[in-house]
Amino acid sequence: MIKRVLIANRGEIALRILRACRQLGIEAVVAYSEADRESRAVLVADEAICIGPADAKRSYLSAPAVISAALATGCDAIHPGYGFLSENAAFAEAAAAHGITFIGPSAEVLERFESKAAVRALLAKHGLPTIPGSDGVVADEAAAAKAAEKIGYPVILKASAGGGGRGMRVIQSADDLTQLFSLCTQEAQAAFGDGSLYIEKYLIDTHHVEVQIAVDKSGTALHFGERDCSVQRRHQKLVEESPSTALTPKVREEFLVRAAKAIGAAGYRNLGTLEFLVGPDGKPYFIEINCRIQVEHPVTEMVTGVDLVALQIRLAAGELMPMTQAEVERRGHAIEFRLTAEDPAMEFRPQAGEITTFRSPSGPWVRFDSHLYAGYEVPPYYDSLLAKLIVWGNTREEAIARSRAALLEVEIDGVATTRDFFLGRLETPSFLNGTATTGMLDAIGTADILAAAPKARA
């Protein structure tokens, strides 16, 4: 039983978790940094507690501050959201040592799934095809060169402890490798506290497809369909949708079942996402796992009708899976757009400042997850996500048409946003026909996409 949850995150996800708690009849306390005192989750919450200054290292990333806040407010569980401490095994362990339930996989499970290189090997053993790559982490540059030679250039160097699209670099040749290996090691060390790298074959025209899974304590594993996150810019996801246009129905069903089976057998628990690249052969190859709720989870919620955050909390509380695989019905098509405070006309430079106008879109099958309000000051310290627009339709075409209408309704003034970029993206053939691949946006000029955007009322 979980009675009272400390929400150790910010922005839209803090609000999302708060809503799930209220729906479940669980009390919630929002933990916030000084920079987020006026954030919507704090204002809406019945209770909130300031855990530190704006600097995330001393607030949202401080395990002692977060756990101490849970104790000070009498919480028996912590929801870490995404990012920050969400996949930190040491944090999960420290919380458990203080009698607090970590809403996510246990410390032991997080530890087992921490090393990307090891997880690749583990899931390959349980029957998931993986992209050709090094056998675990590469010890040094010589080992990397040997592995890369065997796989064939181009390859991608990845931080074993990395995530969220960070800590990876495409290597085109042996010369590149010589130049970049130690730099990548240093970057990984600085960003993730672990300089270990591994190598994978770099597939250029791929779809990024991921499977939402959930496993209860008894090992019952379900999948909730897939999400296609191929619209990316520099490995950052911008648009996500479900189902994926890259899979044939036959490949899809077999692949989803296999993913759920493998992850259950590998000992994973709670909510998670298995990420795959769909190669030119139309088949998905496992790349990595995310042991948390993801930004794009609403896409799956819209298609399945399952509240994933609520499910995550119930599983963390020790409940058994409240449904069977046959009861997870997937209907229609959903698309999510990540509206960020970035200026597409200026190389997506992050923005901060006061939101002067805020009008959210609405209407049938339109969901808008946002922590904004007019007068809110977007702080410069954190990630730039402002809102997620999620739209559902019976078909992909209907979802796109509704997305266009909903995006035109979005009015956010005060900071530059990516809205017009998305309006333009909706008009490009590669998006309309579902052939967008992960490297495509970096190849198309942003200016061309912006120019394609229909003009909203000035």
Binding site: A45, C50, L71
Partner: protein, 155 residues
């Protein structure tokens, strides 16, 4: 040194009205001054001003803690001492209304998972109002108590 009662009487005559007025102005619980070897202490009756020692199980909800401070004509001489961490507070022994605080002194600790995080006073003076009690849960930046600088009262 034996006190000269007559001189003490004069002293009280001249000082008392000033002290009483100061007490009213500041909302201080107590003022103590020393002159010519004599100590004069004036204590106000509690006028119903809530001294924050709320034993509430929960930490305060979001909102500017400073906004909770009662307005006073002497606000510019009142300095809140704020918590430097989130956890359970322990006030130093001399932190009570009327107690003296030296600038830079250790006035409280906040227990964060067994680690005592120090709270030091930015200003010297007298504790004018308590806003928490030892053992209370406190949030980062929470006002623990008010220190009033009283330098000019001392002759």
């Amino acid at each position: 040194m034996p006190h000269n009662t007559e001189r003490l009487g004069d002293l009280l005559d001249s000082l008392l009205p000033v002290l009483v007025e100061r007490l009213h102005e500041t909302g201080l619980g107590e003022i103590e001054i020393e002159r010519d070897g004599a100590i004069v202490r004036v204590r106000a009756e509690d006028r119903g001003a809530p001294i924050a020692s709320t034993p509430a199980p929960a930490a305060p909800r979001g909102g500017t803690p400073a906004a909770a401070a009662a307005p006073s004509v002497a606000d510019d001489r009142r300095h809140p001492v704020r918590s430097t961490a989130v956890g359970f507070v322990k006030l130093a022994p001399d932190i009570h209304v009327g107690g003296k605080v030296a600038k830079g002194s250790l006035v409280a600790t906040v227990d964060v998972l067994g680690v005592a995080v120090e709270v030091r006073a930015d200003h010297g003076g007298i504790v004018a109002k308590l806003r928490c009690a030892t053992g209370d849960p406190v949030e980062y930046g929470q006002e623990l108590f008010l220190v009033e600088s009283v330098g000019e009262v001392k002759a």
